[in-house]
Amino acid sequence: MKGGIGRAVHVETAVRTDIQPPDDCTHCIEEFILQPPPQPPATSSLDTPPQPPATSSASSHLLIGHTSSASSHLLIGHTSSASSHLLIGHTSSASSHLLIGHTSSASSHLLIGHTSSPSSHLLIGHTSSASSHLLIGHTSSPSSHLLIGHTSSASSHLLIGHTSSASWHLLIGDTSSASSHLLIGHTSSASSHLLSLQPPPHWTHLLSLQPPPQPPATSSLDTPPQPPATSSLDTPPQPPATSSASSHLLIGYISSASSHLLIGHTSSASSHLLIGHTSSASSHLLIGHTSSASSHLLSLQPPPHWTHLLSLQPPPHWTHLLSLQPPPQPPATSSLDTSPQPPATSSLDTPPQPPATSSLDTPPQPPATSSLDTPPQPPATSSASSHLLIGHTSSASSHLLIGYTSSASSHLLIRHTSSLDTPPQPPATSSLDTPPQPPATSSLDTPPKPEVSPVTSSCSSSSGMAPSPRLSHVSVVMVVLMVLLVVASASHGAAAGGEASPHGAAGGTNVTHKKAFPVLSLKYDHVKTPFEISLWILLALLMKLGFHVIPRVSQVVPESCLLIVVGLLVGGFIKAIGEKAPALDDTLFFLYLLPPIILDAGYFLPIRPFTENVGTILVFAVVGTLWNAFFMGGAMYAVCRLEGGPLAGVDLLSCLLFGSIVSAVDPVAVLAVFEEIHINELLHILVFGESLLNDAVTVVLYHLFKEFSHVGTVTVVDALLGVVCFFVVSLGGVMVGAIYGILGAFTSRFTSHTRVIEPLFVFLYSYMAYLSAEVFHLSGIMSLIACGVTMRPYVEANVSHKSYTTIKYFLKMWSSVSETLIFIFLGVSTVAGPHAWNWTFVVVTVLLCLVSRVMGVVGLTFIINKFRIVKLTKKDQFIVAYGGLRGAIAYSLGFLLPDHQMKTLFLTAIITVVFFTVFVQGMTIRPLVELLAVKKKKESKRSINEEIHTQFLDHLLTGIEGVCGHYGHHHWKDKLNRFNKEYVKRWLIAGERSTEPQLISFYNKMEMKQAMMMVESGSSAKLPGLISMQNIQPKAESRERTIPKISKGREEEIRKILRANLQKTRQRLRSYSRHDLMVDPLRGHEREPQRDALPEAAGGDGEEGTSLWEQRVKYRGMSHYLTVPANRQEASPVRRDYTSTESSGVRARNVGPTSSSSDAISVLDESPPLRPSRRSGTQATDSGEEETRDQRTQSRRLSDPGPK
């Protein structure tokens, strides 16, 4: 691979998850072109015989390889120095997680490769230097996550390619190094997640995109000329097909996979599944010859995996492999396999080429990796230190390692060379694979294996399990190992186990391959993600809970502060145990955590104060934020100029960008703090409204400056476009939101038959609004708010009471969870992230934040007050200025900044500002509010009188404006209301409620609440109200008192009516009365017959009253429910009988309020002489029982006010 210098680098990152795939590719290509030529020598020199010394020094977890020095987790390779997690490779120095490769130096997670120096996570490759997660490749220096390739330098997540340097997530190529999620290729290294899952797409990619171009590449690599390259490492010629894969799935030959699945020959896989020859795999599953597998799930998930391999994916994969690639590849591979190149992967499988993996074991392969395994190299100086290793001439460094000629130092190691294979490694391998390896693969792959197709076919066959003995061998071995190693992971089960059995004792492994049905199996990987998410949320909520359990803490310190502290502690802990703490990354934040909070805020936005102060809010949000951004930016620039030193490099645009990030008040932080201090509505809406509406400004400024600082120049046109952009972003956002809001309202019109899903519509439409706005870079926050505000009145009129409660609770719950998580993550990522602390910069930032905020607020208020009716006082200004907290939005925007030398500096400053505002300002604002005696929010709920007067005042003011012909804000509001009532409501609200005036709905709602309260409290006795309708009924109406006499037949009638009417819960709820609600209906309808009975009752006397009284006393004992309300009512009429006629006011008491609806009152008014609450003794008793029963049902119903 190294040798394949001028080779075109085919790095097809078709399935890239990243945003800027093109960039990466180009990078790769460039680097490849540059590095390959010079490097071959270097690396090759390393790998060549002279190097067999296999001088590897591993200081950390796993080291497999010759001449390698690994200091960290896994190292597999020759002459490599790896310092971190996994290293597989020759002559490589890897310092981090995985390293597979030759002559490579990897410093981070995975390194697979030759002559490479990777410094980070995975490195697989030759002569490559990878510094980050995965590195697979030759002569490459990648610095970040995954690197697989020759002579390539990749710095980020996935690298697969020849002489290529890819730095991002997906890399697939020949003689390439792939280190992350998906890697598929020949002589390739694949290292990541989803080979199994997305094979169809991947393969198509492979086929369509890469294969054609690659065959040459690979062939060139594998061909004689290339032997030197990577191949030099593994095979004598280089058939080594020196591919290193480091991640999840790898299928291919001469590939190195380091992750989940690897199937192939001569490959090095470091991760999950590896099937192949001559491969080094360092991760989860590895099956293959001459392969090194090093990771998790060989034992655990074989059943599913295998099934996947066999049933699910093989079809697509194989077809792809067979149809697409074989043709082009045969040449390549064939070239390899041809006499000169027998070594290649095919060489391994073919008789002539037993070499491949076998070549390693065979004499001819002394050099390269094979050199390790071969006699000359018997040193097979592979050292595996972790879980399972299976393979020949392979070095696997992670969880599972199965292999020959390998030395494993950790949990489970089965060596052929040593134990199984013994010195004559060939035997070992042969025992497994059989000397005539060809048979194995050949049997599977068909005789004509010389080509690559065989390899692939072998893979396919292996995936097919049944047919492929070799794979089965491997699987058997693996199974055995797994059984041994992973205690409970014996769930090898059906597929693998079944396959394994025919092969009998897999070679030298003296472990039983047949495993009993797994009673208990472990499958953590399967649930890992949701499990961890749940764990985080649980942690967050428990913390939140804890703060409220501990007394007084929440009084002093705002919750947000406590949560950040918890985050810091957790972050510290995670760091202490050596894990990588999750950062608050922008996707998580903007797509999942922020929307619930904003929706909650928008949906429950207090409309009236908001609209009344919208001018002020807009001025603060737009002008204020602009001022802050530019002032901050300018001042920071000046400071940087003056300070010089490390700050000298900060240019004006960067400063402005920084200013725009740090100047925006954050709704999350504001909400968290202001909710706790209960400040008056005006101030709350001013600060909070500003924090919501400034989003548009922030978005525009941020993108603008980011763009400018990229380009470097700003013209007037740009500035103008910026202004236009602002309007587009804000108004566009609002429009998108409003459209979704109306859609949502309209949808809710039809949900009366499927109440259960009602709440979901609210959430989904809102979320869609947010996402749609984000699609166009519009202001998602404004969109969400517009959606909530638009939707709410109509939705609330449409949905059932239960749905309303559900919506409310879900919103509150989600926003609360989100908020908690945000603060905790803020703490965690503070610990996790890189920092560049510069005293001047940080201190100046904090100071300027305060200064510009104060100046902005004071200056703007001065102007605004000229137009406001209610002026903002000095106190108000202070609170508005002081309440300008910064928060997670600023942090996330900072996090989003392109990598830049100043990024960490900015990020540190932003975090400091956030912490300063949240801690210092957040904690002191409460005492200050109290000190200044700022008006607090009123505690009580809105009373009906206030509602009446609000309405009255609205109309009055509109009227007065009309009288003096001034079209002010009331006028337009009135117009809007009328339009809304006449047209919009009709369309958006179903049924009669569309015409219901606001006052009435308020009244209904209030009654409902009252009724619920009453039901909940068990009886009306606990309610505070001591005044009933009788007290307010005009006296004049109650002159006469009569005691109705009721006949038996009448009683019956009454009872019937009562019963019928008690069913109508809703009507009952209409009436407003604290005491009488329960009994109301009785009363109301009772009166009807009573009126008829009036004439006869006219002569009622005291005796009756007495007996009635006794009756009452008696039945009071009978029913608890009845006594309290009933007693009170009955008592007074009785007493009235005794006392005087003047107290006739009492008479009415049972009437008005108790009536099932207001018509009761009208009845009363029409016939004042009615005497309601008189009943004969029998009736009292009977109806007493009845009442009891009915009340029970009633209270049941009330407590569960079903869909209205």
């Binding site: 009446i948 009255f952 003011l957 003096c964 007290n1031």
Partner: protein, 194 residues
């Protein structure tokens, strides 16, 4: 004053275009046509109690420009530099205006009947439903007032109606001084109406 009249009234509506407008003139104002409490608003302009130099109760048949402005002056916004007493005075004055609108018979209390009338008027635009509910609402509101202002009441006691103190108490949280205002363009209304 004349500026005010000319600017805001003269050309726009018939009230001030006649020298001494009567109720009929007010009734012709188009903007009032849809207002549910139109009659009450109009009454307020002819209520003696709302004139500054209030000489007793009762209504007048026609008002002059001075009276008109006197009524309008109830709607001027308070200035920012007010002492607490002044603020309170303004509040009282505005409340009194409202109270007078409700207390049609000028007996110092808003009786249930009167209150019902108010609510009915408010809901007069919403058809039969409103009419039906209005009483219930008024009764509920009255109950609320009674419980707020009287606390406990014996069953045989009778709550006469809302007195001004009760009214004040009732709307204590209402912040009427900052709500019952009309912005008259850029005119400095306080000086105009003195």
């Amino acid at each position: 004053m004349s500026t005010f009249a000319v600017q805001h009234n003269h050309s726009l509506n018939p009230v001030v275009s006649v020298s001494c407008p009567r109720r009929e003139d007010f009734n012709t104002i188009p903007d009032l046509a849809c207002n549910p409490i139109r009659s009450q608003i109009i009454e307020a302009f002819f209520d003696r109690r709302n004139f500054r130099q209030s000489d007793g109760a009762g209504t007048v048949r026609e008002i002059g420009f001075g009276e008109f402005l006197a009524v309008m002056s109830h709607f001027r916004p308070p200035s920012i530099h007010l002492k607490e007493e002044q603020r309170e005075a303004i509040r009282m004055e505005k409340l009194r205006f409202l109270f007078n609108m409700h207390d049609t018979d000028n007996d110092g209390t808003i009786t249930l009947e009167e209150y019902r009338h108010v609510v009915e008027e408010l809901l007069s635009r919403s058809g039969a439903l409103g009419k039906e509910t209005a009483k219930g609402i008024a009764d509920a509101a009255m109950l609320e007032v009674a419980s707020i202002s009287m606390g406990h009441m014996e069953p045989d006691e009778f709550y006469e109606g809302i007195t001004f103190e009760h009214f004040n108490k009732l709307l204590k949280e209402f912040e009427i001084e900052s709500r019952m205002n009309i912005r008259f363009m850029n005119m400095d209304t306080p000086t105009l109406c003195k």
